[in-house]
Symmetry: C2
Subunit: 194 residues, 2 copies
């Protein structure tokens, strides 16, 4: 183990995965990392659904594609949903890069700390995964569609209640993509008032 | 260095700080950890303002206290703002536990990934701080007040534009609180679909 900064610097968003499943031991470490993230007032309301069943992953892909296919293209060309909608209308959209494991992270609907708490949990998971040699990628799409009735029904079948809202997702698996250069910091401005 | 899980397990929210300032070397490692967090489409729009000037910190405390003092108590008794409002009305509220360093993290106003990206950055910072022996605590209050005109003016003086919104804050310094037991996971439910 080389420490937190090595995990931070080494992490890349992995968009191509080997089909070999990660081990239960690896998964449980990643899940624990997420559960141990701080939460506002220590309320611990993040809810993780770990999906490894291929048929369920395929059903999620289909529901997401159908939901995007019904949406209008956003006026803003920089809107992140643009590509998803365009490809879905052609029946060609796959929102999660075929990872063998996909974690859906939900939180209480209407709760002010829902997004922050969930992001801290997924952040912990990404760093722990990186340290033990597992690739990951934050997946936004179910969050974008969290008010879509068909998507709500699909995640409800997986145990996410109507009082909850999907705040993020995480693809997990062994990376099958070429090594990529380190992230270059071009934004993320810092001002000092000393 | 003991790795990511040790940092995750060892981290506590620190609410009492020594007044000794952290070193510039420590600060720059923590800042880099935040800058290197993943962001949606790698847009890197998180904006950090590192405040170490005592008079500026005091001014922020005053503005926050005055903003809360003018607010009505929320109907929901579980609303996290409750205590802040009650104490501020008595002139007794200090929102940031007197850390020697306070980082304000802002992002583009109205940007869908603002909260997620900022939280991932602050999460990285908390873990890196923990690893190098520095305590931290997520501070929500400026976010709660991000639409308050006086608060907006106060953070504008620190370089946060009107096109930005405060998404979180981070208190940083050497811990002066007794060691606390490890976090017990009582929530953060996990379901497996294998």
């Amino acid at each position: 183990m080389n420490g937190v900064m090595d995990a931070i610097k080494g992490r890349r968003s992995v968009r191509k995965y080997k089909q070999q499943q990660i081990s239960d031991g690896e998964l449980s470490q990643i899940v624990a990392a997420g559960q141990l993230a701080p939460s506002g007032h220590n309320r611990q309301t993040t809810h993780f659904v770990v999906v490894q069943q291929a048929a369920v992953l395929e059903e999620l892909r289909r529901v997401v594609r159908e939901a995007f296919a019904e949406m209008e293209q956003p006026a803003d060309p920089h809107d992140m949903k643009s590509t998803a909608i365009r490809l879905s209308k052609k029946g060609k959209y796959n929102f999660m890069y075929n990872p063998p494991t996909f974690i859906i992270a939900a939180n209480k609907r209407g709760y002010g700390n829902a997004m922050a708490d969930t992001a801290l949990a997924l952040g912990n998971m990404m760093l722990l995964a990186q340290e033990i040699g597992i690739g990951s990628c934050w997946i936004n799409q179910l969050r974008w569609l969290c008010d879509d009735e068909k998507v709500m029904r699909a995640v409800e079948k997986l145990g996410i209640g109507r009082d909850e809202v999907v705040c993020g997702g995480l693809a997990l698996g062994y990376s099958d993509q070429p090594e990529r250069p380190a992230t270059v910091i071009q934004g993320n401005r810092v001002d000092y008032i000393k």
